[in-house]
């Protein structure tokens, strides 16, 4: 099993490297002349030359890539083109803000979604199941900004319960932070719960259709025991995969939600960088997002491997 985990770690690192190639190629090779692309109509021969020098464009792309990668590994993400500050200094505070919001949302939505998913699988075909299905279908279809704006209207503009903008600053108290971020958290929860719930339900149903579950009913075990002792342990690995699958969804959601609530996170950071065409900032943000995503996926995979009885208890060679 250790081998399987190590192989998975190796794949994770390899993927990260491939992603670095893709990000570099996407930002520096795809546009052809990077300097002209960034400056657009404002380009003058002088400004072009200056930018080319800043970006080191006279060096061949392969060489540029490797020095970029080397700097990256050392934590040097380059300098922002717009305000001449190191990207790392600007990026990391925003990254932790985003992680805090995502963690807040995940802490509420994942337990809720998994529980609802298991319940609707157990009560398949019941009123609860059908209602949950329709509600889930509706909420996955609702754009983040629709829910966000609607909630702002209801909970903030009309009733004044919660602030309409998620203003956070250094040194604010935990409770104040919770209050400021609750609306974005609710929106993120709403859009992710539905997905995770539906997929959890499918995963549990796939297990519930196995003959050994019927066997447990034929052993006269009550429903609760069959579900908790036999179905859920076997559905755990697929459920972890479901959760991992939805991390991408959460990331997309975070970017949009941050825009709705003006939250100072990495998503807005990246969107701003893209609209200003600030190349090093986009590279940095893209790599950090991708790395976080790959890391979380890898952890989920390793979790699923750890839960597989065939790998945990290898076959004893028979004499």
């Amino acid at each position: 099993m250790t081998r399987v985990v190590l192989v998975r770690l190796g794949w994770g690192l390899l993927t990260l490297w491939i992603v670095s190639v893709l990000v570099f190629a996407g930002t520096e090779i795809l546009p052809g002349d990077v300097a002209a692309a960034i400056l657009g109509q404002n380009a003058t021969p002088e400004s072009l030359a200056a930018l080319r020098e800043t970006l080191g464009l006279d060096v061949p792309a392969v060489q540029r890539y490797f020095s970029w990668l080397a700097n990256f590994v050392r934590g040097d993400l380059g300098q922002s083109l717009t305000n001449r500050q190191p990207v790392a200094d600007l990026l990391w505070p925003r990254f932790w803000n985003t992680m805090a919001l995502a963690a807040y949302a995940a802490a509420v939505s994942l337990p809720l979604a998994v529980t609802l998913g298991i319940l609707s699988a157990v009560w398949r075909g019941s009123v609860f199941d059908r209602a949950a299905n329709v509600v889930a279908l509706a909420t996955v279809s609702l754009p983040e900004y629709f829910l966000g704006l609607l909630l702002i209207l209801l909970l903030s503009v009309h009733t004044g319960l919660l602030p309409s903008l998620a203003d956070t600053y250094d040194g604010m108290g935990f409770l104040a932070w919770l209050k400021a971020t609750t609306l974005p958290m609710i929106v993120l929860t709403l859009v992710t719960v539905a997905q995770v719930m539906r997929m959890t339900r499918t995963a549990v149903l796939a297990v519930m259709d196995q003959p050994y579950i019927e066997m447990n009913y034929l052993k006269g075990l009550p429903n609760s025991r069959v579900v908790l002792r036999h179905a859920v342990p076997n559905a755990a690995a697929p459920i972890i995969n479901v959760v991992a699958f939805n991390i991408a969804y959460l990331i997309t959601g975070v970017v949009l939600v941050e825009a709705v609530f003006n939250y100072n996170g990495l998503g807005r950071f990246m969107v701003d960088a893209v609209s200003k065409r600030d190349l090093p900032m986009v590279q940095g943000a893209a790599m950090v997002f991708a790395a976080a995503y790959i890391l979380l996926n890898m952890m989920a995979d390793i979790g699923a491997i750890a839960l597989n009885p065939r790998l945990r208890h290898p076959r004893i060679s028979e004499s």
């Binding site: 003959p211 066997m215 447990n216 009913y217 034929l218 075990l221 009550p222 036999h230 208890h313 028979e318």
Partner: protein, 537 residues
């Protein structure tokens, strides 16, 4: 009739209905005395499993008990609530399934699963249940009974797991067992061992059972009485010996005759003795470094039927795939009609592809569900023979007639056909190519006995009329006897014996062939005792 007090299970006028309203079981009544085994026999769809599950107050897949009474050790199940039914299941009545591999929770140790029912039902304390489990393990002759329960399901062999499931069923000392084809998934040589252990264990502890199977010879060894079922209705019931020796109903007579017929040797070959069509010379083959076929040589003459028999893992299906060109030999030579045959079908010429056709075990997946019967059969006609228009339609009609299907079947999709009809279409598709050699890979294994017999008769008729040559792959020795002039016995990728079928059955030479032959259950009731006695010596 039996004394009321003596009855552990009594069913009256049972009626079970599917969610779509179809009646699966109708008007079934039966009684089971303490220690008695009642065999429920019938083809697929006869409702035998449905009755077994209904006896536990359970309906599978939304089926519902719509009428009748089920009395289990004095408790009426159909009128009682869910908690009463749950309290009976696993405690007073327990279930043994066909596939143990699927019936055990893969993520829980065997001992925990086995003692779960008695402890949960409050029949025994955990230490008591464990002690009883060890006794059962010993009775079922499981290896290292002390540590056997510490294993996970994937860590033990199929035969052992089947016995462990028996232990799980017996864990709460139930009065009645429902045994649903408990040995069908096992190889013949393993099957008799498990069968004998099942019977001895039930006898030792005085357990009654409903024994569900499609195999008359198997049930003859274990059941005191038989109930023959068809389409959810009772055909006849009686003591096992009476039903087998003097069946009253026509349907039972046909079942018994089919089974007896399978034990008679094949009649002599009519057209064999032509030139050698296919020859394998010291062929070895396998997948990714694993050798499955080892130094195999055989030859097949035109008009002959050669059967290749063996248990799972013997390499017989690999042999079929090799001849078909789906697997290339790693060593050795294959010749066809005197010429060397390319290993991969990709390299074979169209003439060779046309000359070798194959029929599969599962007609359901061998037919494209989106192509009608007509399209399916017509394609080889146009592809190989360039037939068009009227010629195509005539030939199609002739082929349908040959396999015994009416003309209007041409427009049907495979979904609208029965299993036997699908297999006939597969045969017609193969014949449409006008092949020299037909590879039949377990073509009757998935079919009910009477339908399988029809297919075998059809194949025999085609051989007489068209002089077909068959390479017949099967695990079923009764099929071999009825069809093949010559038989090759395979074990672990090697040929252990290659002789005319009649000789092979009369005087088997190899020890493995003898074990294989004597493992085929016979209809007489003392067969299992005989063979176990012989083995003990």
């Amino acid at each position: 009739m039996t004394e009321v007090a003596d009855r552990v299970l009594s069913i009256r006028d049972l009626r079970v209905v599917a969610p779509n309203g179809a009646v699966l079981v109708d008007g079934i009544s039966l009684d089971l005395k303490r220690g008695e085994v009642l065999g429920l026999i019938g083809e697929s769809g006869a409702g035998k499993s449905t009755i077994g599950l209904a006896a536990m107050g359970y309906g599978r897949g939304g089926c519902r008990i719509a009428g009748g009474q089920i009395t289990l050790t004095g408790t009426e199940l159909t009128q009682s609530g869910k908690s009463v039914r749950e309290a009976m299941r696993g405690a007073r009545i327990a279930y043994v399934a066909q596939s143990a591999a699927a019936a055990f929770d893969p993520s829980m140790r065997l001992d925990r699963q086995i003692i779960e029912a008695p402890v949960q039902h409050g029949v025994m304390t955990a230490p008591e249940a464990r002690a009883w489990m060890l006794e059962l393990f010993r009775a079922l002759q499981l290896p290292n009974p002390e540590s056997f329960g510490l294993r996970y399901p994937h860590q033990v062999s199929g035969g052992q797991l089947q016995r462990a499931m028996m232990a799980m069923a017996m864990a709460a000392k139930p009065d009645v067992l429902v045994l649903d084809e408990p040995t069908t998934a096992l190889d013949v040589t393993t099957q008799i061992e498990v069968l004998a252990l099942l019977r001895d264990t039930m006898r030792r502890y005085g357990t009654s059972a409903l024994y569900i199977t499609h195999d008359l010879a198997v049930v003859a060894q274990i059941a005191d009485r038989l109930m023959v079922l068809r389409h959810g209705k009772e055909v006849e019931t009686g003591a096992t010996g009476e039903v087998l020796q003097a069946p009253k109903a026509d349907y039972t007579r046909r079942l018994v005759a089919e089974r007896e017929g399978s034990l008679r040797p094949a009649r002599g070959s009519q057209k064999a003795g032509g030139e050698v069509l296919l020859a394998l010379d010291r062929v070895s083959a396998g997948y990714s470094g694993l050798t499955i076929l080892n130094d195999v040589s055989l030859s097949l003459r035109r008009g002959e039927t050669l059967a290749v028999v063996g248990e799972s893992g013997s390499g017989k299906s690999t042999l079929a795939r090799l001849v078909a060109g789906l697997l290339s030999p790693a060593a050795g030579r294959v010749t066809f009609a005197g010429r060397a045959l390319e290993g991969s079908y990709r390299k074979r010429g169209i003439a060779d592809l046309k000359a070798i056709q194959m029929i599969y075990q599962l007609p359901d997946v061998a037919l494209n569900p989106r192509q009608s019967v007509g399209e399916t059969i017509a394609r080889p006609l146009t592809f190989y023979r360039g037939l068009k228009g009227t010629a195509l339609r005539d030939e199609l009609r002739q082929l349908l007639a040959l396999i015994g299907l009416p003309d209007d079947f041409a427009d049907r999709l495979p979904g609208a056909l029965s299993g036997g009809q699908k297999q006939r279409v597969c045969i017609a598709r193969a014949l449409a190519a006008q092949p020299d050699l037909l590879i039949c890979d377990e073509v009757t294994s998935a079919l009910d006995p009477l339908i399988a017999e029809d297919i075998l008769n059809l194949l025999r008729k085609l051989q007489d009329e068209l002089g077909m040559t068959y390479l017949f792959i099967t695990h079923d020795l009764s099929v071999v006897r009825r069809l093949a002039e010559r038989t090759v016995v395979m074990q672990k990728g090697r040929i252990v014996e290659d002789r005319p079928t009649a000789d092979l059955f009369q005087t088997p030479q190899a020890a493995y062939t003898r074990t294989l032959l004597e493992s085929v259950p016979e209809l007489r009731q003392d067969w299992l005792d005989d063979i176990m006695a012989r083995r003990a010596r």
